[in-house]
């Protein structure tokens, strides 16, 4: 039975837009995340997909408590994340870790690999007593497929894929239960991407980790996720199992997104359903009223401008936030 480890309800994050030099006035808000709810179960991977600016990285930052939320609740193992302080918060930081996108800027160039991977132990001394640290770090390097003898090297001596492994080793140091992966493979070459994806899969199987896997690449998300949430302009527009989203998408945006991904098989040319959206994603400072996708949607009617569609199960299937949700196979 699926046991929830992370529950998010009505999460909102608005960034104020200020103008002026001395007397700053707030002229509006970037509605980066606007009412997001989902559940991450133990041992599963929830993929979050969306285009740039949809709020998927802000979501990660708020859940990591790097940014305070504007509103909403998040619970880790039933306890409220945003209300935590002191020792309880420190414990939470052990349990939820993050792997960042860019392995070039997320590692300090002046620290050795041993220092980077071992740094979490400086704060959380209870996990590894001082004399034991080097052995622990070397173990971690071995787990992520790096040579434990390279513990004294610097990040620039490693390739992009190896650096991402260092980032993963650092995230594993405190034996977390949840890892938020924010675009972990998008900066890597194709032949290296597969190595890192397989590593993430193996680690999950061995350690029973739960992943919140944020990415813009729908193929990568399909490969790693059990369930998938699709985001558009700060809202989840559709959520379901991997099969629900890829085989039976109901929201027009999901369908367009899937249709736009080129498939590496020339015999599919002209045989796949082509849905082309016009224009760009609107500004999150002033999103369209009602359904935020309506300005680019071919199904839009009057009701879409006046009434926000709820993210509820539609047509006896999975939840989709569309008044006119309808299954359509596009892959």
């Amino acid at each position: 039975m699926a046991e929830p480890i992370l529950e998010v309800e009505g999460l909102v994050k608005h960034f104020p837009v200020r103008v002026g030099v001395l007397f700053k006035r707030t002229v509006g808000h970037v509605q980066a995340v606007d009412g997001v709810s989902f559940t991450l179960n133990k041992g599963e991977t929830l993929g979050v997909v969306g285009e740039s600016g949809c709020g998927k990285s802000t979501l990660a930052q708020v859940l990591m408590r790097l940014e305070p939320p504007t509103a909403g609740v998040a619970r880790f193992e039933g306890r409220d994340i945003f209300g935590m302080k002191g020792a309880e918060l420190r414990k939470l930081r052990r349990d939820i870790q993050i792997v960042l996108q860019d392995p070039y800027t997320s590692l300090n160039p002046r620290m050795t690999v041993g220092d980077i991977v071992g740094e979490p132990y400086e704060i959380h001394t209870e996990v590894a007593p001082k004399g034991d640290r080097q052995r622990k770090v070397q173990e971690l390097l071995e787990i992520v497929g790096l040579n434990p003898e390279h513990i004294n090297r610097y990040p620039h001596q490693f390739s992009g894929g190896q650096r991402q492994r260092i980032g993963i080793a650092r995230a594993l140091a405190l034996k977390p239960k949840v890892i938020v992966c924010d675009e972990p493979v998008s900066a890597l070459d194709v032949s290296i991407q597969a190595q890192v994806m397989n590593l993430l899969g193996e680690l999950q199987a061995e350690m029973g980790l739960s992943y919140l896997f944020i990415a813009h690449d729908l193929s990568v998300v399909r490969h790693l996720s059990n369930r998938v949430a699709v985001m558009y302009l700060g809202k989840i527009v559709e959520i379901g199992t991997e099969d629900d989203i890829y085989e039976r998408p109901m929201h027009p945006y999901t369908q367009a997104l899937l249709s736009a991904v080129p498939v590496p098989d020339p015999t599919q040319r002209g045989r796949r359903d082509v849905i082309r959206l016009t224009g760009d994603v609107p500004s999150p400072i002033d999103p369209p009223s009602g359904c935020r996708f309506r300005t680019r949607c071919w199904k839009a009617q009057d009701i879409c401008a006046t009434e926000v569609p709820e993210l509820v199960p539609r047509n006896g299937g999975h939840p989709a936030a569309c008044h006119f949700a309808e299954e359509r196979a596009v892959v």
Partner: protein, 316 residues
């Protein structure tokens, strides 16, 4: 072609040959550092020399060798003969001039157009690349455009002098997938209309499968395989291409197992002896270390630089 650097000589291109005809799309596929962009920049003549040195070879455009031309003659070819678009439109466009000015400039200098005529033509071009309200947006600066629109503006600029060949260097890599699809459609449409040749440089096998006629696969500054797009995806003729296809997660396949390519692409200052792919190749044997593979002709215009190319392609 080699780059002479402080860290030694980087052998960036080691015998690259390809050709494109009018109306045709050749895709040049490779990972970062494989030399695909350098080849394009050599064709355009926009590389700084030194540090770059062309040690051998010819670049023939309409039958004439570009490398034997003077700087002035090469300038004639750029824009009118061959034009290029780049990955990052924001850094390719000049931030202190309006989009309109940057398109008009070439029309005024190269075509001797008056200011008014050039503006009219620039609006037409922006219309052609489907920038909404082209007339109103022409005096905007690049930063006022969205990513997709900037890429469209750059395409308009490259088309201003009606080139016969367009080199597109990762034109959609920086864009979101829905915008990528729009831009690829636009390029295909323009190409058809103008019967223009196109060299599409990319690392994305999906994009290649969608638009290319023929494919050249590059690895460590060499073309390791060359084939028609259908043939290449049906039965790759080089172990590198084969591994690449097997390591790619696919949208249309569920629960597929990803094979990985072990190791890393070689450093160009220190390319392994024999076949450059041999340290990572699952099929490597003694001869791959001692002998550089010759070009094997596999028929139907297919070539592969692998000692056992025939065996690899037969397995397909």
């Amino acid at each position: 072609m080699e780059f002479r650097t402080r860290d030694g000589v980087a052998k960036v291109l080691n015998g690259v040959s390809y050709h494109v005809s009018a109306g045709e799309t050749l895709a040049v596929l490779g990972e970062s550092g494989s030399g695909k962009s350098v080849t394009a920049q050599t064709i355009m003549g926009i590389l700084d020399m030194p540090p770059a040195f062309i040690t051998k070879g010819t670049i023939k455009f309409r039958g004439e060798d570009l490398l034997e031309k003077s700087a002035d003659e090469r300038r004639e070819v750029r824009g009118e003969g061959i034009a290029m678009i780049f990955q990052d439109a924001l850094s390719a466009l000049n931030p202190v001039f309006t989009v309109g000015f940057q398109i008009e400039e070439q029309l005024k200098v190269r075509r001797g157009m008056s200011k008014a005529d050039a503006r009219k033509r620039a609006v037409e071009l922006l219309d052609q690349v489907k920038i909404p309200n082209a007339k109103g947006r022409i005096s905007d600066y690049p930063h006022q455009f969205s990513g997709g629109m900037r890429q469209r503006a750059m395409i308009a600029m490259s088309l201003a002098l009606d080139p016969e060949l367009l080199i597109a260097d990762e034109p959609t890599t920086a864009l979101d997938v829905t915008v990528q699809a729009q831009i690829m459609d636009l390029l295909a449409e323009i190409q058809k209309e103008r019967d223009m040749g196109m060299i599409l440089i990319t690392h994305d096998l999906g994009v290649v499968a969608d638009v290319a006629d023929r494919i050249s696969v590059m690895y460590a500054g060499r073309i390791v395989e060359h084939a028609d797009v259908y043939e290449l995806f049906r039965a790759p003729g080089h172990p590198y291409t084969e591994s690449l296809l097997e390591s790619l997660p696919r949208l249309d396949l569920k629960g597929q197992e990803l094979k990985t390519i072990k190791g890393l692409p070689p450093s160009l200052t220190n390319i392994p002896p024999g076949c450059p792919f041999n340290p990572r190749c699952p099929r490597a044997f003694d001869r791959c270390v001692s002998e550089v593979p010759a070009v094997h002709n596999l028929g139907m215009g297919r070539t592969s630089r692998c000692h056992i190319a025939e065996e690899v392609v037969a397995r397909g």
